[in-house]
Assembly symmetry: D2
Homo-oligomer: 338 residues x 4
């Protein structure tokens, strides 16, 4: 922790700060510059985080030296985390996993048809929402447990892993019973109650980045999961909110390399939400693979005109097939497989 | 709903769209321009929202004519909503209510001292967090129910209304038992499960704007509350996330006038979070009053150096006193009282 | 300057950095923490800015201690700068100056009518664009020198100061000949050639904040003006670009207090561009005054339906009159005049 | 153009709007919905753009149907523009061109060494700044014409095309004399005087996207160039400004596919500025290629520790070699060459 003082800070101000930190076991190192005095503290920095040094008289700025996350960091664990799923699927290894399926689970027949199709085309994990976070209370909110039953049954029939979103602490146990991966959506990335609850399960979990979350905040939310005992965590970049309106979100491709450098956790890219339009999904998927992601999540629907949500960004099967073919070639070019 | 077709859209595309909308009871009005054909639909527009027209062949853009919110809109209710609270406090009338207190509830003695102080200085509502949404799992998470008991006891002793945040669907009943106003925090603005649960109580609620939520999304989240039966809703502008780093957030002062124009609900301004630094809180409070807000929420602590959270943006009692004095004068200048 | 090393930095890395900085006359102060080593440099920090320390082996982060601006800072000059203009108008003193007029200068008759009107209503400075920065090459680009002649003649006739935008280094001399204040527009805030050219004139200048410029960058652009010899500089907050689309820009009301704290230069608020809609201009103006601005800039047109640009955010004379009346009351409430 | 009226708009309001548009040769098509009346106008939409319909009584919103750009659009020219440069280099064809070199031109010897190196490693175009847009007036501003002479001499000696930035209308002729491609920097993307001046030359030009420019605004700035007679225009995505601070900018990978869909102009990706850190440049370059860009621009320096600007994002030769090798493989995977 580094404390930069104001030009008019007094010696008493300096002593007051040092004393307070000293009680917490920190040693001060003072640099008296021409214009400013700077104090560096050595010792258990976490201790200092509980004191709001910014409000101490004479303080101008307080800078953190250490990253606030521990368990998710590369310093804590240098090798990549590889998450093991049923059907010999892994996320985080050489093979890039593909999650595909409709936005919402609508009915058994439709789900089974899409599941077969995406599996044949190379998908490893079937996605589908049973509890849907919808901006409007008047929009379709998902089938709930009925949807989860469909997802589980289809997964078993087709022989494919499953993922579905959990939105409420009270649903965690329920959703965990039916699926292989719990998804925490972008809007709940800082729903800390939910993070704690999901962190205390043993289910693999995919944590979507909040639409205005920094990479640091995203990692801190992942830290909640690990700190509560769940180490099978995937990070999912799904586009951030910016001023640009030509696309629904701005896929932050930089975040893939940043997250891979700072953390050992696998990184998923969701080009469907990351672009918001079926016309740009394949380009986003290829870019994600080229940038080093460990998995892709893609919305696929065999009849987007009838989809109950997010039709505009769903790929028709033929487009998904093209995406898989081109993503596979890019994967090879970066020494990965799909 | 207006559908703009691509330049190469065919007559068959046009007919396909019209037919599909016709089944939902909508009448089409076609404008064939030199370069583009445009279809306007007349009838129950909500019906159309379930069809993803964007993916229909030949479609370029789909534009909504009607706002997606109903109950929160000025069209639904033209006069301002005035929320009645204990101790004859109202929010939404001529008098601008002031909510003040520490970020977190820390102990009875401290809370009582601050409560007396802010009441004497003119505050109407005592704030204090018992369940705290903290970015880091290692930071102080609040006293929980113990904190709520302190808040309630202090409120009764001092004779002041109380507000505290609820973060989890499972806590709604508990928190509602102890406080006069439930607060939904910025990070939970689109926690739709929580919105539904709080919407089904009878407690007044303050809905903070998400840090990257548009005014429209904020109103849609409020719509969840009203649609579930709770009409005693206040909107709270607390700063949005932008590229600017000189302040913790960017107080969106425009949002006050926009929300007041579009909705009948009262608007609260929180300059503490809106600026993130005690040096700018008073300016933000005055700006909020000048722009037409119905209430202020301000963090006050009598010893910020010992605060367990958000010390940097907490006002010392003397600064809060100054803020009240200057805000009062500005309130008069816009024909309001504080 | 503070250099934070990577956990795996070697002693040789540390020595390499210290040696290099030593050649520039800087003394190093090393803190060896448990997890990280941190080097603080004491001496002429500017010297270090030419070395890209970020790329030195072993370096993780480099933090600046001192602000990069000098002449614009409060440390350089603690009292407020007051700019003197013709007709005894000042900007930066107790009286809040008001700049008003149409977006573009359209013709003599119209301009004279508006000038008389805004002067009667209390405006001190007449605004009007002769060179217009238009997003589209097909939109009206302004009357050029003809417009400047009109502005000057009207200013003299009515007895009011004038301001107009300069967009091109080749026009600086020309525009300076006709107006009392040169305006540098938001899109040219980092047109450094223009800044140098305007900095070398003796004309007062108003520097608009770029739509995605941080306050620090804005002050650095002002620094270009002062460093080239022109100290009569006003800063103008005119809204920043964010994700919000309900308003054309987001008026950054925080920036007023931040700029006033960091700099001695006067701060103007432009609620017309800051909101983009006539319905919100008065609220923005009042908020600006309440937050401590030194001047307002407002677009006024007596017939917005016929305006050649920015009609949507122009006030009709009756609305401008209301704005003046209410801004005046708020000014009094913060011990200022209008 | 579509005009949506307020719920309380009168028949007189409607007639007033229709009359005014009728005078410009537009035919109105009125849809009277249950809640709103909507008017669609057919005819030369450009005519309408000069009337600020937003301010007409009764108007709620005005929506543009047609894109405001013409010459840059795919509708105007469906096949890709291919720009021909010396040494048989093209931009926009099957081969992805690579621009590489230092941020600033520093001296002949260094420039020649880097030029030889990047040419051997496969670069087609040598970059180097002679006029540098620096945030601080105290930073190195470039060698000016001396730098251009060095660039030209090195280009001829090594046999490589050259590109350099032009910042001032007065420098356009000068810079055009020395280089093969004029660069317009991000900060000047809406310097319309400069756009007009560069548009009236015959030199190929690369237009960088402004850091907060929408794709639409970027295309409108390109339209200025084409409308003034210069059709040899490349668009360059170099990262946008967002809330994220882990990287200097956010490379908007979506913008590549969006720009390629809307326009026939070639798209360059600059991962050096797009990420701001040498550690992420290669990932950004590969993502750009995978997303469909036509050229890459990369900062390379053989001694970043001594670079006079942007050292932190410059690649050492060995890292550039790795980038070229991996980008080449990705290019093949998307049926392109490097």
């Amino acid at each position: 922790m580094i404390v930069i003082l104001r030009p008019d800070a007094t010696e008493a101000n300096v002593q007051h700060i040092i004393e307070r930190a000293g009680k917490l076991g920190l040693k001060a190192n003072i640099s008296r510059g021409v214009e400013r005095t700077v104090i560096g503290f050595i010792g258990p920095e976490d201790a200092l985080r509980v004191i709001p040094l910014e409000v101490f008289p004479g303080v101008d700025q307080v800078l953190q030296v250490l990253a606030p996350y521990k368990l998710v960091s590369r310093e804590f664990k240098s090798e990549n985390t590889v998450i093991k799923l049923p059907y010999n699927v892994t996320v985080g290894g050489k093979k890039i996993a593909v999650m595909a399926g409709p936005c919402s689970i609508e009915n058994y027949k439709g789900m089974a048809a899409i599941a077969k199709l995406v599996k044949v085309l190379g998908a490893d994990i079937l996605r589908g929402g049973a509890f849907k976070p919808r901006t409007s209370p008047y929009d379709f909110q998902g089938l709930g447990e009925e949807g989860l039953k469909i997802l589980q049954a289809v997964g078993k029939e087709v022989g494919i892993c499953t993922i579905s979103e959990v939105m409420d602490t009270r649903q965690v146990e329920l959703v965990a019973k039916y699926v292989d991966i719990l998804q925490i959506g972008a809007r709940n990335m800082q729903n800390f109650s939910l993070l704690k609850e999901v962190g205390s399960t043993k289910k693999p979990v995919m944590l979507k980045r909040g639409m205005s979350a920094t990479v640091k905040e995203w990692l801190m939310s992942a830290e909640y999961l690990l700190a509560n005992g769940n180490f099978d965590v995937m990070l999912c970049e799904r586009g951030i909110r910016t001023f640009e309106t030509a696309t629904r979100n701005t896929l932050d491709i930089n975040a893939v390399a940043v997250a891979k450098r700072l953390s050992h956790l696998p990184v998923v890219v969701d080009p469907s939400h990351g672009t918001g339009s079926w016309e740009y999904v394949a380009a986003g998927a290829r870019a994600g693979v080229a940038a080093g992601c460990d998995a892709l999540m893609v919305e696929v629907h065999d009849n987007p005109e009838e989809a109950l949500s997010d039709g505009a960004q769903s790929l028709m099967p033929d487009k998904f097939q093209e995406l898989m073919a081109s993503a596979k070639r890019v994967a090879k070019a970066v020494d990965r497989d799909i």
